[in-house]
């Protein structure tokens, strides 16, 4: 209830407190706080960028989720780092989702898009099925909505074909990659 009240304030200064709430190992409360943070909008991105809790992967996953939902280009470094280095699959999954949706800064378009695509290709090789699932989602998303450099687009399609094949262990990842190829009219 206190969390709901804090969210209702709509005050960016409440962001720090809401981030602390994400660390309580209480999914009901964390879900409310996450929605509250997303509603506060991009003003809170600087707060989020300095508030990753190194000892609590549950909290990190929620923070990366908020950052992904806000789609702010300032989150790119953190999302890339989270995908490359975080030991928790839930954090890498949320980071992959973020790279799929991140709004690209028009002045840095080529470079930022390239980094998002490289991240998604890397996620396609992850050990955990849920990160590869997010990669299939993300590659579809980027190929459908943006014009990607042809050499990267070829790599993206090859990755989706690989995720759709018997080389992929998890049936649900194969299903998702097949769906992506269908939606891209590549099958």
């Amino acid at each position: 209830e206190a969390t709901r009240a804090l969210c209702a304030l709509g005050d960016p200064e409440a962001a720090g407190t809401l981030v602390k709430v994400l660390g309580f190992n209480n999914p009901a409360v964390a879900g409310v706080a996450t929605q509250g943070l997303i509603q506060l909008g991009r003003d809170i991105v600087p707060t989020l960028l300095v508030s990753l809790d190194a000892r609590n992967y549950g909290a990190r996953a929620w923070v990366v989720k908020v950052l992904s939902a806000l789609r702010d280009p300032r989150g790119l470094d953190l999302l890339e780092h989270a995908l490359n280095a975080d030991i928790a699959p839930s954090v890498r999954r949320s980071a992959t989702r973020g790279l799929a949706d991140l709004e690209i800064d028009p002045s840095l378009k080529d470079q930022q898009l390239q980094r998002c695509m490289q991240g998604l290709l890397k996620a396609g090789h992850d050990d955990e099925w849920v990160v590869r699932y997010a990669a299939a989602f993300g590659l579809e998303q980027r190929l459908r909505t943006t014009t990607v450099d042809p050499s990267i687009a070829d790599q993206a399609v090859a990755m989706l074909q690989n995720l759709a094949s018997d080389a992929e262990d998890a049936r649900v990842v194969r299903h998702r990659a097949v769906l992506a190829l269908q939606r891209l009219n590549l099958e």
Partner: protein, 256 residues
């Protein structure tokens, strides 16, 4: 640190000086679904430590990991050893053996598992004095019966009393098994009630049980439950793979 190669892992399991290296090796072979010709014989060899007196706690840990790996490798050469271990006097060994036999869908194990549960709520389901354990690892045994998938009258009659156990996670396991075996939605509805339980642990357990049973009608309730997205994704994976329903993938996309 460089990742180990399969042949290094095999050698780590073969040696007996360093149980922690064996412990990791047993886990690795299961996780990676190793097809190495020595994997199964070496995993089986670790079980001998369970018959020592007294049992060495480190070697017991290796054996428990080996039992889990056998469940993932699904090799019929391990059937006999796992069946024997259902009668171990070590609760955790019985529990892990039941889980592995369930994962393997071992029809040969069904009767032995049923007999461990046959004493019902006042026997198998009774609490052991001054520990959090029940007399038998009921959750693992119930889940195994659901996974094995024999839906004869004797199996159903053995499981049903546990839907009224005073511990919600035992009820959840029993409902999951009955839903898998009969497809009767009344068990699914009882599981979805547990998604509203005040304790997060119970909500998480019920959510994973709904996923394991692959009950498509539960998707909206899973979506709305107050549980971490990572667990919802695991549950929905089970339903997506069971049903082949594309709408489940859309729900999963929204949770990433």
């Amino acid at each position: 640190m460089e990742p180990l190669t399969e042949s290094q892992v095999i050698e780590n399991l073969r040696q007996t000086e360093d149980p922690s290296a064996q412990y990791y090796a047993a886990w690795w072979l299961g996780k990676m679904r190793s097809q190495h010709p020595d994997a199964i014989p070496l995993l089986l060899a670790t079980l001998g430590a369970l018959d020592d007196s007294p049992v060495d706690p480190d070697r017991r840990g290796v054996a428990l990991n080996a039992i889990r790996a056998m469940g993932l490798l699904k090799d019929e050469r391990t059937d006999g050893a796992l069946l024997d271990r259902l009668h171990s006097n070590d609760y955790s060994v019985r529990e892990e053996a039941a889980r592995s036999l369930g994962t393997m869908g071992s029809h040969a194990a069904a009767e032995a598992i049923r007999s461990l549960l046959a004493s019902g709520l006042d026997g198998a389901g009774r609490e052991q004095p001054s520990t959090p354990l029940l007399q038998e690892p009921c959750e693992a045994l119930l889940e195994a019966l659901g996974d094995i998938g024999i839906n004869d009258a004797a199996t159903l009659a053995t499981i049903k009393p546990f839907t009224r156990h005073h511990r919600p996670l035992i009820c959840s396991a029993a409902c999951r098994a009955l839903l898998q075996l009969t497809g009767d939605s009344c068990w699914g509805e009882q599981l979805t009630q547990l998604l509203l339980h005040p304790e997060a642990l119970v909500r998480r357990g019920a959510l994973l049980d709904l996923g394991a049973a692959g009950w498509t009608a539960a998707v909206p309730m899973i979506q709305a439950a107050a549980v971490e997205p990572s667990l919802k994704l695991v549950a929905l994976r089970g339903i997506a793979e069971n049903s082949g329903n594309q709408q489940v993938l859309d729900v999963m996309d929204a949770l990433l």
